[in-house]
Subunit: 316 residues, 2 copies
């Protein structure tokens, strides 16, 4: 089944402990599309400026992404710049945001897009997210949502309206605490779930991901990497792997969601190994499978069989 | 097989987001002993003051801990006080340290203790750790070590001498980076391993633990808890579960080390659920097994069978 993503396409300028890049391809919809494309057909809806380079449309097309929803407008493409600290690569500081054509982004879905069974609403204004939901012909099989502190603080009621209508929320640890006004992550997830999404994915960067689904919790550690070049886009690559895997299999069971979480981690791990989409846009299936096996090796141990007891001392 | 621990016994005063406690039982050797005692016989070597309360010796004896190595000296027992932040429970600030009788701690092992097959050198002066190693009759089957920033900075060469002679190092994430002068944890672990310990356990508090052993990495997430009362002692409870399980089974294989890591996490998770040793000193075997099963449920997913392929798109 196919996936529709509505979000940003951007040119990013980043400084990380590994170096820097100016005006390199980025954006939530871009990372999500490419990541998801390894599993399933993807259609993207986003706005680009008249400076958007043909090679970057070609990059998406080379991944069989349907780019008919890239709306080219007069003006410049969205620009973001930020810096990551050496001590804590999870901590980033935004240096500059130039919305440019993104300021007037008004997503319009084609007839085909309105029937897409999997929908990812990347981190954009909750009012636009609501507008996209309203355009869908039917309730999709799965709606995933991302958001950020800015919307939690400035558009809280709009965000709450969206949350009522989504199945899965992808959210950073700190943002989850903001949204729930609660430090403890278990209580955070329960509170967020009561706002709508039955599935809550809390992203913790290099510390991995927690999946809350009903009463069940699943922890997926991030693969420790020797080379972390640029964390930009890792969250969207994660969501792309997660939703792409679900769309490819149609398996929305608790087991399916757990595997999707691990495949999200697989795709996130590639995203951080280079600037921009350099690494994640040039993967082979064998590399994806090898990394999935690396995470399996990272996390496997001999569980306790139903008939087995721990070697505890007498009388305990 | 039995475990010998050499470390501190203390009275702690702590302030945490959940409340505060004054002069409550603490110390690395205390947490380690009680945690380990659920799996295997434990002998403790530590110094206590003449103010050390009989009920606290009884608590250890109730766990069948051999307390003949508790050396009572004139003066006060070691005092530590600290405060944990609400935002980041991993970040703690020491308010006061009064070494008292611990200032002249000079561990002396009995003939029986010198033959113990499993030895844990808790966080004390590397020179004392070396002295204990020199007292052992034979090289133990496994020597575990803990240390802290203070020794990394002040007694670096002594610490390096100890590291050459230990099998497993238990170390906090930040301390590992200090010791290795390296931010990346994979490179950190490799560097530390080159200093001696073939097994490096990097503790990340609520983010779990990374085990490095040879070329293999294992990630064990911490169980997300609804109630974290006091993180004091969690690291020593972890080491106690880890080494206690290894001593109980004698299984030092890579598989055994992985399971020991999970059981360390089990014991650490109990330690943080109360002040002092309230929770960890009153566990039943059924509770330990239930929590192990909870972590198994937290971490399980369907791995990729050898014959199975991921649902990747054509041509990839």
């Amino acid at each position: 089944m196919s996936v529709l993503v509505v979000g940003s396409v951007a040119y990013d300028s980043v400084v990380t402990p590994a170096g820097s890049r100016d005006e390199t391809l980025g954006g939530s919809a871009t990372f999500f599309s490419v990541s998801s494309s390894y599993f399933t057909p993807v259609s993207v809806v986003a706005v680009i400026g008249d400076d958007f380079q043909p090679e970057h449309v070609e990059l998406l097309k080379a991944h069989s992404v349907d780019t008919s929803g890239l709306d080219r407008k007069p003006g410049k493409t969205f620009r973001w710049s930020g810096i990551y600290s050496a001590e804590d690569v999870n901590a980033r500081q935004t240096l500059d945001t130039q919305l440019n054509v993104f300021a007037d982004f008004s997503p319009t879905l084609s007839a085909e897009q309105r029937r897409t069974p999997f929908l990812f609403l990347a981190n954009i204004d909750p009012e636009l997210q609501l507008d996209v939901l309203d355009q869908m012909d039917n309730k999709p099989k799965l709606v995933g949502l991302d958001t950020m502190n800015f919307w939690i603080q400035r558009k809280n009621s709009g965000l709450r309206s969206v949350l009522k209508r989504v199945d899965a929320l992808f959210i950073d640890e700190g943002e989850a605490r903001d949204l729930a006004s609660e430090v403890n992550l278990v209580r955070c997830a329960r509170h967020i779930s009561s706002l709508g999404p039955k599935t809550v994915v809390i992203k913790r960067g290099e510390h991995g991901v927690l999946l809350f689904h009903g009463d069940s919790m699943f922890a997926s550690p991030a693969l420790p990497l020797e080379s972390v070049v640029d964390p930009t886009g890792a969250g969207d690559a994660f969501a792309g792997g997660f939703m792409g895997y679900l769309a490819a299999t149609g398996d929305l069971s608790p087991e399916g969601l757990r595997r999707a979480t691990v495949l999200g981690s697989v795709m996130g791990s590639f995203a951080v190994e280079s600037f921009s989409l350099d690494r994640i846009s040039s993967l082979s299936g064998a590399e994806i499978e090898a990394r999935f096996r690396a995470i399996i090796d990272l996390t496997r141990y001999t569980p306790l069989e139903a008939s087995e007891s721990l070697p505890l001392r007498d009388g305990r």
